[in-house]
Symmetry: C2
Subunit: 506 residues, 2 copies
């Protein structure tokens, strides 16, 4: 009775979160420019409503009853987990003063504009006051949310529950140490031919190709759609409507190719959550107030990286599918072999821009940001000192000189959107993807042969079984323990990178 009442409340909250998701999707894909004036208020109102619905008396009454009703169930039963998610979220939102939540949401639009202007003018000083305010609000948030060891942990929780800066630093130390020899070996190799990557590939054919890639991996377009946007993203409005976008550059095919593969990975996670969890607390992020079925940002990223990198950036994949590219762009790609294409997209070259980074240098960009954020949150770094700290960290990590801040500390939108604490999830995704891929190869009979024939169904079935179907029922580490016998571990990732790029790699 109480459980049913609680479920009904949660269904309504999920409906609101889905409406927010649509307001966001539309603002990036369809909304006319003039709509921006009122869209922020619409999203803020619905977010506040979802939060109010969650903490109101009706939900709390149902929650109390549902806690008693499920107390005798196994600790990891879906019902008990659902109820516990709600309890944790109610406790969380009651700890955050309404004024603080409104302050953090309210500063986003002006901070975004200031960042945009600062980046265009290559003038960090234009953004600094907004970033100071953002950090200050993030510290107030950490104090309200609570944390055991480090204020940054309270921010990380929003994206990666149970993760801490202490554990991240341990992971990063090992990752740096493991990556360095592989990176040195990869940089020393002769640069492959890359001229064809910037040849003209008409957008119409790129769109058709994106649809073909989606079909390769059973991304169900009757429950989804592919649109264009400046920054690619995946967004879901229940498992019945999971949309992705990609960015088409006629002078750089790789952008849409790997952007599409990446977002397909995210979309598969959402489309394959157990239908029984639809609209429930097991398919809603009740802390961040997002309609998302994946259990953490890192777990989500692992799925996108697995499809994009482990499959999409493999030689085997292009030996099978480069014909699709050649047929779509006979003029641009007629004289290119699958092996040449693979070599071009796998080249390693340290550079200043995160989103253009290759597989080996990408994590250095992440680690740099995480360390800076942690120091800002701890008060060990002042906003005014960010450019110098950034540039010296880039020099040390990758030997890259940052000449202008717009190619350095002003390159990413995250800080201006108040997203402090999310960067770590990209590297967690890389690590987790390799761990899952290694487990799949060990557990699925003949998986390597299936992949070599372009039969992705056994791998997709493994992922559905191990990860996707569970929605938010299990934590990231629980999923990993169930699927691989171990919590998040670095070794498979370094093994994968060493085999692909290391001294003894082909």
């Amino acid at each position: 009775m109480s459980l049913a009442a609680l479920s009904e409340r949660l269904h309504a909250i999920n409906d609101i979160l889905c409406a927010i998701a649509l307001l966001l999707w539309d603002s990036r894909v369809a909304m006319p420019a003039g709509g921006a004036e009122t869209r922020g208020a619409q999203i803020a109102t619905l977010t506040r409503l979802a939060r109010d619905h969650l903490v109101d008396d009706a939900t709390r009454r149902a929650l109390e009853g549902a806690l008693k009703q499920t107390a005798g169930l196994p600790a990891d039963s879906a019902s008990r987990r659902m109820v516990e998610h709600v309890r944790a979220a109610v406790d969380f939102h009651r700890r955050i003063p309404a004024g603080l939540a409104a302050r953090r949401a309210g500063m986003r639009a002006s901070a975004n504009r200031a960042w945009d202007a600062a980046k265009s003018a290559n003038d960090f000083a234009l953004f600094a006051p907004y970033l100071s305010e953002t950090i200050e609000a993030a510290r107030a948030f950490a104090d309200a949310a609570g944390f055991a060891a480090h204020p940054y942990d309270a921010l990380i929780q929003l994206y990666e529950p149970d993760e801490t800066i202490k554990d991240l630093r341990r992971l990063f130390a090992a990752l740096r140490e493991g990556l360095q020899p592989i990176l040195r070996s990869a940089i020393d190799r002769p640069a492959p031919r890359r001229d064809f990557l910037s040849r003209d590939c008409p957008e119409t054919e790129q769109r058709a190709l994106a649809g073909r890639l989606a079909r390769l991996f059973d991304y169900d377009q009757a429950r989804g759609r592919i649109d264009a946007s400046v920054h690619p993203f995946e967004i879901s409005l229940t498992r019945q409507d999971v949309r992705i976008t990609t960015h088409y550059r006629s002078d750089f095919l790789a952008t849409s190719l790997f952007g599409t593969l990446h977002e397909i990975g995210h979309a598969l996670y959402e489309q394959n959550v157990d239908p029984a969890y639809s609209r429930s607390a097991l398919a809603s992020d009740l802390i961040g107030l997002y309609a998302v079925g994946g259990t953490s940002f890192g777990a989500h990223e692992s799925q996108s990286r697995l499809i994009e990198n482990h499959l999409g950036r493999s030689l085997c994949f292009w030996q099978l599918h480069f014909d699709l590219v050649r047929q779509a762009f006979p003029q641009a790609m007629g004289d290119v072999s699958a092996a040449e294409f693979y070599a071009a997209i796998s080249a390693t070259k340290p550079g200043p821009i995160r989103i253009e980074a290759d597989e080996l240098t990408y994590d250095f960009h992440i680690m740099l940001r995480v360390e800076l954020e942690a120091d800002l949150m701890a008060g060990r770094l002042q906003v005014a000192d960010i450019p110098e700290a950034w540039n010296s960290a880039m020099r040390e990590a990758l030997g890259v000189e940052i000449e202008e801040d717009r190619f350095g500390c002003l390159q990413d939108i995250h800080w201006s959107s108040g997203m402090i604490g999310s960067f770590c999830t990209y590297t967690i995704g890389n690590v987790m993807a390799a761990q899952l891929q290694q487990a799949a190869l060990a557990q699925v009979p003949d998986l390597a042969s299936h992949l070599a024939c372009g039969d992705y169904r056994p791998l997709l079935a493994f992922l559905r079984d191990a990860i996707w179907q569970h929605g938010r029922r299990f934590s990231r580490d629980e999923l990993l323990e169930r699927a691989t016998g171990r919590r998040l571990e670095l070794a498979p990732y370094l093994t994968y990178l060493a085999a692909k790029y290391g001294p003894r790699a082909a």
Copy 2:
């Protein structure tokens, strides 16, 4: 203080209504088929939230204070009208039991499906039980909402405040009498050449042409967009984001041409509501819970009919702009003159289908539906007897024989959507459009010459001043009295039709 608090509540309610509008827009323009499973629940949840927000204690406390605060203002001041709209809506929604509202909303999906199946199978019996249930719920709604003379009046109020079946019957009697001689004369004329209307006109060029038509009338596409959908519609998410759709048939250009002109009329109304009313009760239908700035469905329809018919179906318009069509479709329209095109789109021919009806027969379709609905609501007609009543009314009104119900009483979606009471607004729109156009010609210096030169700005300025800017501040008849000195009156409409189609017309 109370007024400010009330405004803030209303802003939030408008935000929710705009989110509902986007969920609707998306379901007709972008949503993948699978999304239908959860979309209905999302719209239902947000509609309930908007209603709950409106009747909750916080709104009512603010309302009580605001009523006192504005009591000394002139009766038609914007603030006082705003507060009175809220009071009327709160009273209304408190009269309707939550269970009844949910019942009416909940039956929509299954009734829609039954209607669709019945229409495909040409079998009214498949839809009849759902329509009986719809009528029964509509009667329960009328009892709860209250009415003075006729239960149908309670339904009409939802779309056309202050309108009654008694007044409509008086209007219709005069309209029938006035139309008959004009219609006879028009039918007797020799049929013009119409072969070119069904020639192939590629959709891409039709889309470009729709954009050019929009620019002719200053429909601001930085605050709007034009998409394709099965049934054309206009929808607004505040005046900053007013979208239209049209339907493209490559074998019938007229569909998108006049569909676009029609929706542009609706869009101009919404885009030109006073910015000061944005997100307020003067830009929200708090009874029907729609984000709409126009004061009634009939007033809205008058703007679409004015652009579509009085301008778009005039000889003068095509003499000026047929070159746009000829340039877009040189193969299909190269051998057609502006006069021939005008004659073809102005031909009068009674037929069974409302949405394909010409200007002279259109209102007969409306009057038939309104009379049937009134009799159903009064219990004077049973659902099972609809086909016979429909067919005999069509025979009497237009001499058209209905051979199959799918071309008769099953043709429109309205009843299956629970929309009883809305049809009258189409004819009210026709009548009001002519009244406004006549007033504009009398009041705007040299308006006829401006129109003959394709300069629509003076007319648009008149409409902005007289109608659009006021949002929902004034009622339909108040707007008409201010603009024309009279409430809704039929004479200008008959004058317009007689001049265009009557015995003495060219």
